[in-house]
Amino acid sequence: MSSACPERRSLAVVAVALAALLATPCAFAQRTLRVCAEPDNLPLSNEHEAGFENRIARVVADELQATLVYEWRLQRRGFVRKTIGADLCDVWIGVPAGLDRVLTTRPYYRSGYVFLNRADAREPLTSFADPRLARLRVGVQLIGDDLAASPPGLALARAGATENVVGYPVWGEGSAAERISADLAAGRLDAALVWGPQAGYFVDHAPVPLAVVRAVAPTGFEVPFEFAIAMGVRQGDADLRRELDAALERRARDIDAILDAFHVPRLAAGATTASAASQEERQP
């Protein structure tokens, strides 16, 4: 990285009138890091900047000596073209490494799906091989995209659990993970499968104790069950990615501390998802 304050299209450069008084390396301009994030999706992000992604974005912006500016958008179908593509922001925090609609940074954590049970359950559901799977009321996030299924949704179908599975569309009031956790706590579900980073938080906020167990994919399951999470920048914006990579590396301990505070279950780096390196190879 050659400069802390490069002038590039993807970074808005704002002149500061009394910049001469500031002791920054580039005295006449203050760079801005424009981040797109969800306005109401705790624990990941909300517009009060209370989510762990918001905290991580703050750390990265500090490291880049940039002013953090948010564009609050739903991370739903077409979100890349409607945000980065429409030049509303330069960075999405919290996307799967290798997501091909963006250029992704080095991953800063890796997580997977978890089984959620009430802590007082005598025989909690912890495996796709459990013979009770077909009769239990299992809650699962429902994505809503043609012919798509979340990995645990597909695993449930393969295990023959179709009759009593309860789908929670990501559309609607509050996050699907939040609605699932509430129904589990209230006894309307026997168990649930939830994306780990959300589970940790809702367990912490549930009215009754809930238990988290890592969900291991069924043997031979062809769909990834763990995901490395990175930041995404515009395709071709390798300079910004390089800077973000360096910042993520330098501040890795701070980022880990934030993830710990939010009880984000993490996995050691594995080899089952596309890495940022292979993503780069696909660039023209």
């Binding site: 979100f79 997501l99 091909d100 995209d145 949704g153 990501v170 980073p197």
Partner: protein, 590 residues
């Protein structure tokens, strides 16, 4: 205001007495276009013959109007008396044009002010397919699920009713149909777990008279003693529940986002239901009733009379919402009241509209996903080799998920006895599963890539003979033909292309007769009307977009081959061929 009153009279006559037989050519045919499909039967046939095969070559632009909007313009203008009404894509502005003025000045404009957040919800561009008219009132739907009645003379709002919930992904893009004092409206959003319905609103007050769901118990589907489906597998109690696992029907889709047609003689409405959603097919074993099929209902009560399922347990997002055109055909030596329906699954169906019996079903595009329709049982015969279950790449899925034909409506000419079908020629490869991302949930979607089908062209305009059960002629088009079709008594047929050419061809032979280069691609529904000056006009909205054209109307990276649900891969060169932006074009003879 005598002209306005006269307009109201004309319109009442047109709305109250739709020609019960599409082939009626009375001595003084109405010059109006009072329904999106011209008539409630959806023929899109104009009885006007001033413009014919001999003179259409001299057709000239009469006037035009830039809409100032960039989203896909799919609507049909309506013409009642000396006023033309056009509803725009989001934000669903309505214009009334005074056709007595040389350049058709704006008589009034109405801004319904729909919720801006509806934009983030809509599946496939922010389109609107047109308005409805009855008894001096204009009815429009907004993207954020409102139906609004306007005084057609002044544009004054009379009532508005909110029918759905956009926060759950529910939107409305379809054109309402006014029938016997009711306004029929259906919702969109099946991919997102929105349960489909068709509602009837009281045209006078906006109150919901009935709402018929496409999934769930009989009481909510409005299935009762009148329900007599032709095929045995559609008979039984609460099939809208039992043909799904558990409670999956509650999120089951089956949205009624296509055109509704009405037969005044039988007093029945007909409409298609969309694909099942939002579950992966593996998670929803069963026929998933009443999705991807067609309902016949009584408009007064909503009671279902029959149902037929085009694509049981829809595996390929084939929907079932394409238009049901109501005509009478000589089949087996007698005249039968039928529905002609070119489906997304690739077959042109002819159904007896009294009973729902399938009389014929013939492929109008190359099909690999099924091998035919069993005329004994009505069952679509799926090809298991094109099932996506394996998790490996499934190649050569034809037709691709937009189908042999999508929403773009066909036209029927009672003179040539041909159905004019605007459609695509697309196949797709699906999988292997690919990581995507929505709302904090990494998930695995089928990575779909569409491409031109056999022949290498992506679109076609086909004239189909439903009695002989074969193509009469077909024109190849580079891009999918995403516009509606218009047939006229002058034996001229009109349609537009996505690269922005509005065309007239000979209804009998398909021979090119005339064309006009529009500023943006055409995905609207062409219409024809007689102006106050006695001349025949042809009108169409240009303005590319929609699912197929989103690559131009929305900032999509052509490198992102899976954007717009895989359609972008097939449309990478469209931005080079046209640009976005809506314009109303109206043509006449010099």
């Amino acid at each position: 205001m005598s002209a306005v009153a006269l307009c109201g009279l004309d319109a009442n006559a047109a709305a109250a007495a739709p020609s019960s037989s599409a082939s009626s050519t009375a001595s003084a045919p109405s010059g109006d276009w009072p329904v999106v499909g011209h008539d409630t039967q959806g023929t899109r046939f104009s009885p006007l013959d001033q413009i014919d095969a001999r003179n259409v070559g001299t057709l000239k632009l009469a006037f035009s109007f830039p809409t100032g909007l960039d989203k896909g313009h799919e609507a049909a203008p309506l013409v009642i008396g000396d006023t033309m009404y056009v509803v725009m894509p989001y934000p669903n502005t309505v214009y009334a044009f005074d056709l007595r003025q040389p350049n058709a000045t704006v008589k009034w404009k109405f801004d319904p002010k729909p919720s801006a957040s509806a934009q983030g919800v809509a599946c496939c561009d922010l389109v609107n397919r047109g308005a409805a008219y009855a008894d001096g009132r204009l009815f429009i739907n907004t993207l954020d699920t409102q139906t609004i009645a306007l005084d057609a003379a002044t544009g004054r709002e009379l009532w508005r009713t909110k029918l759905g919930d956009i926060s759950r992904g529910e939107t409305v893009t379809m054109a309402p149909l006014a029938v016997n004092g009711k306004v029929l409206v259906g919702n969109s959003g099946g991919e997102l777990g929105v349960r489909g319905w068709l509602a009837a609103l009281d045209a006078a007050t906006g109150q919901v008279a009935w709402r018929a769901y496409s999934t769930g118990p009989d009481s909510e589907v409005l299935i009762g003693p009148s329900f007599k489906p032709f095929y045995a597998n559609d008979r039984g109690k609460d099939l809208g529940v039992s043909s799904w696992p558990g409670t999956a029907w509650k999120l089951g889709g089956g949205n009624a986002w296509g055109f509704v047609s009405y037969d005044p003689a039988l007093d029945l409405i007909f409409y298609g239901t969309g694909n099942p959603g939002p579950w992966n097919p593996e998670q929803r074993p069963g026929a998933n009733k009443w999705t991807s099929g067609v309902f016949a209902r009584k408009p007064a009560t909503g009671e279902a009379v029959w149902y037929y399922q085009w694509s049981p347990h829809d595996l390929h997002d084939y929907d079932g919402v394409n238009e049901n055109i109501l005509i009478d055909l000589a089949i087996g030596g007698r005249e039968r009241p039928v529905i002609v329906h070119p489906d997304r699954n690739g077959y042109v169906y002819v159904l007896d509209r009294e009973t729902g019996q399938v009389l014929s079903a013939d492929a109008f595009v190359p099909i690999t996903t099924s091998t035919g329709v069993d005329l004994e049982t009505g069952a679509l015969k799926y090809n298991p080799l094109k099932d996506l279950r394996s998790g490996e790449t499934t190649r050569n899925i034809c037709p691709a998920s937009p189908g042999g034909k999508d929403w773009q409506p066909s036209a029927w000419s009672p003179r040539t006895k041909l159905l004019y079908i605007p459609h695509q020629n697309l196949c797709e490869d699906a999988g292997p599963y690919q990581v995507s991302y929505i709302a904090g949930t990494p998930y695995v979607g089928v990575d779909t890539k569409m491409y031109a089908g056999p022949g290498g062209h992506r679109g076609e305009f086909t004239a189909w003979d439903p009695v002989a059960r074969k193509k009469a002629w077909a024109l190849k088009e580079n891009f999918p033909v995403w516009s509606g079709a218009l047939a006229t008594a002058g034996d001229v047929v009109f349609y537009g292309t996505m690269d922005g050419v509005f065309k007239a061809v000979d209804a009998k032979t398909g021979a090119a007769l005339w064309q006009f280069k529009t500023s943006s691609g055409v995905i609207g529904q062409p219409i024809s009307y007689r102006g106050p000056d006695g001349k025949q006009y042809v009108a169409v909205l240009a303005g590319v977009g929609g699912w197929a054209g989103a690559i131009v109307s929305s900032p999509i990276d052509p490198q992102d081959s899976t954007a717009a649900l895989g359609f972008v891969n097939a449309m990478k060169d469209l931005p080079l061929a046209t640009k976005k932006g809506g314009t109303l074009y109206v043509f006449s003879l010099p």
